[in-house]
Symmetry: C3
Subunit: 307 residues, 3 copies
């Protein structure tokens, strides 16, 4: 069983990349791939630039399946005075630490929640429009990792681990997932028109619920607020079963992922959400079981070889 690269996961969780403002993470990944790819089984083609906004694609061999991992995180934008407006859907508790940067320098402040209205508490005013994110406090116990932004830096981590041995496939790092989407549609267009790729896996994080628990394996989702095509999902489940990797079935009414945008794209692309579950979603204390991370990476490797 493959060890978890704690340093990589920890670094990813600490990079500033709220929705719409992901470029620091894009640059980190380009550098990471450029320095690591010599150790990989197959060297990917790196595809990025202004035609892809802040997205990044790794192309391995002859792709028939794409892994989507969103780069962006939830966060906050400074409004006027000391007001904050959310980016995506943060679950705020007064006292949570936020960090960022404006023309006057670095920022580390506390958040206050007064009846759902959000404010920052800082020694000076912060420029309107400044983005803030949770301060990263990465914690490890014997069985768990805990940090802000496990969602979705773990999805990104998973994709990078799969990359090490991947021979054929696309790894697509998307943006804006936490706040309305907007890149998956052109990424679908690109991958379908260029390579006729019709199969997608969503490398993202889901929730602990009454049917999904810590340490029971990676989650294969049959539905959330969107319903993927049954024929494709059944194929994934049959492969998960054959793989021997621990997995759990999810059936939810709410929640969403890049899968939703894939479904609404103008291409007949099937998608299925496959990812580890976490607790304390969208707080600075997202909690994930190590065994579920290992299962996630292992199942993705199997799926990318057999789908």
């Amino acid at each position: 069983m493959e060890p978890i690269d704690i340093e990589l996961l920890k670094q990813l969780c600490g990079i500033f990349a709220p929705s719409g403002n992901e470029s620091a993470l894009t640059k980190y990944l380009i550098e990471y791939v450029e320095t690591q790819q010599d150790n990989w089984k197959t060297k990917p083609e790196l595809i990025y630039g202004e035609e892809f906004q802040d997205c990044l694609i790794l192309k391995f061999g002859e792709p028939t399946t794409a892994i989507f991992a969103h780069l962006d995180s939830i966060g906050f934008t400074v409004r006027y005075e000391n007001q904050l407006v959310p980016i995506g859907g943060p679950e705020v508790e007064s006292g949570d630490l936020l960090v960022g940067h404006d023309a006057m320098g670095p920022i580390e402040c506390k958040i206050k929640d007064e009846d759902g209205h959000l404010f920052y508490d800082f020694g000076r005013g912060i420029e309107s429009g400044t983005d803030l994110v949770y301060k990263c406090d990465f914690r490890e116990t014997e069985e768990y990792f805990q940090s802000c932004y496990i969602d979705n830096r773990l999805g990104v981590y998973n994709a990078l681990k799969v990359a090490e041995t991947l021979e054929n496939g696309l790894i697509i790092f998307s943006c804006w997932e936490e706040h309305g989407g907007g890149t998956v549609s052109f990424l679908c267009k690109w991958m379908y028109e260029k390579y006729k790729v019709k199969q997608a896996l969503i490398s993202d994080i889901t929730w602990i619920t009454d049917g999904v628990t810590h340490g029971q394996g990676v989650v294969v989702s049959l539905r959330d607020s969107s319903i993927p095509r049954r024929e494709y999902v059944d194929k994934i489940i049959a492969l998960a079963e054959a793989s021997g990797v621990p997995y759990q079935i999810e059936v939810e009414r709410s929640g969403g992922s890049d899968g939703r945008e894939i479904q609404q794209s103008q291409y007949p692309i099937d998608w299925c959400f496959v990812g580890a579950p976490e607790d304390y979603v969208h707080t600075p204390n997202e909690l994930v079981h190590k065994a579920d991370i290992t299962a996630m990476v292992t199942l993705y490797k199997y799926l990318m070889n057999n789908l």
Copy 2:
């Protein structure tokens, strides 16, 4: 006046095809068309396969207008324990009968609604992720048909009846309409890029309201939650007037159809909803007047010839 093919309508209402899981109905229609087309005025080209997911297209002659009829129905997915989550927007009453199938065999169970939380009542557990639909109890009186899934098997029926004499046009059977859509966008892409078809009719079912009543004819909708382009709708109404077929005008604030997805597609395609009205929408007891069915089929034939 053309007789109603009760057997066909009844069969259609009983086929299992909740959103995302429509393939049984697709297969039924392919077989139906293949056995019936020799009796039709024009033999259509059948277009389907993995580039169309579970959709089916019939192409007649040189098309300039497309009929959209969605295949899917509302229903339920089994969550954990005995919980159910809705597919689309069913109007549930405790005691309604549901049917489906899992690895352990066929299922027929009752639904329980406890303060909006849905449960099944069955002698054994049902596998998580299993889709269930209303059990079909097709009823006929002198003036009415009553069944689950009049919405939208009557829209499908209408398209099949129009097919019998159609010389030029597209009939497009779409999926997922009841639950977020997802196929109309690639169907629009296909039909516009391949045939420059810019006119669509939505063959679907609408509601009895204080302005739309049973037996007064097929409904032409001026708007629901979406507003179609006035110039096109005015053309349809002028043709409806000229046709002599009984029709009613609908103006609503809410509700939606495949028209919404056509409007948001990346193609300048006009759409108009034209369909019979029903009562007891999204229950097992959807009620439609026979005269409105006849008016629907007759007006569609006229429109497809004159639009």
Copy 3:
């Protein structure tokens, strides 16, 4: 400082063009451009017709940036009896005057709001499906203009003023913005596929809030319910700063524009909202400061030259 063409703005505010029913304004603009373009620095190519529904595009030189100005306004559709349903989100006060036209002739009636249910008060019944809009009462004081439909006839006005000296760029008049959109997606497709235009400015009207006030300049929005890409918005702000034109920064949680639809299109097109602020939004009394109009036109000219 350039004078404001009051007559043009007044005329624009009085033209009937609710969402889905914009063709009168499209025709007005085509005629306006055809008669005015000889006085313009560059003669644009006029692009319109059935492939563009009721939209109109002016193409100047070699475009790299597009101005989007939506033509449509909020309004009302007559339902059954004396009921009205809204087009977009009007802020109604009983007694507001509405105008329109049906087969029986011209209409001028009063609106009644009874607990959020809307009715008209008129001497005769009005045909179901008839669209009504606010009656235009254009008012001028030393510092302000006040009228219905400043939103978005001022955005249209701005585009026409920029057109006078524009050498390279697209001016795109879109439809349906107030009610779900539906044209921006095909307009994006056209402009990206034909000219690789990846930069957009949204010429529209925003709100007076606790951070945006009358007379303080044109508003550059960092976000509303959608978040544009930070890198692009930062570029706009740097140019606004360099231009010397008075401008204000906006940061909101709600609200939206054609920018939302651009972001969700299948093309990597950046967008930024730049427009004057108004008070009494979506009423017959929208109020805008003259200095903010001048700032808007001046900044657009600068941006179109320097972006």
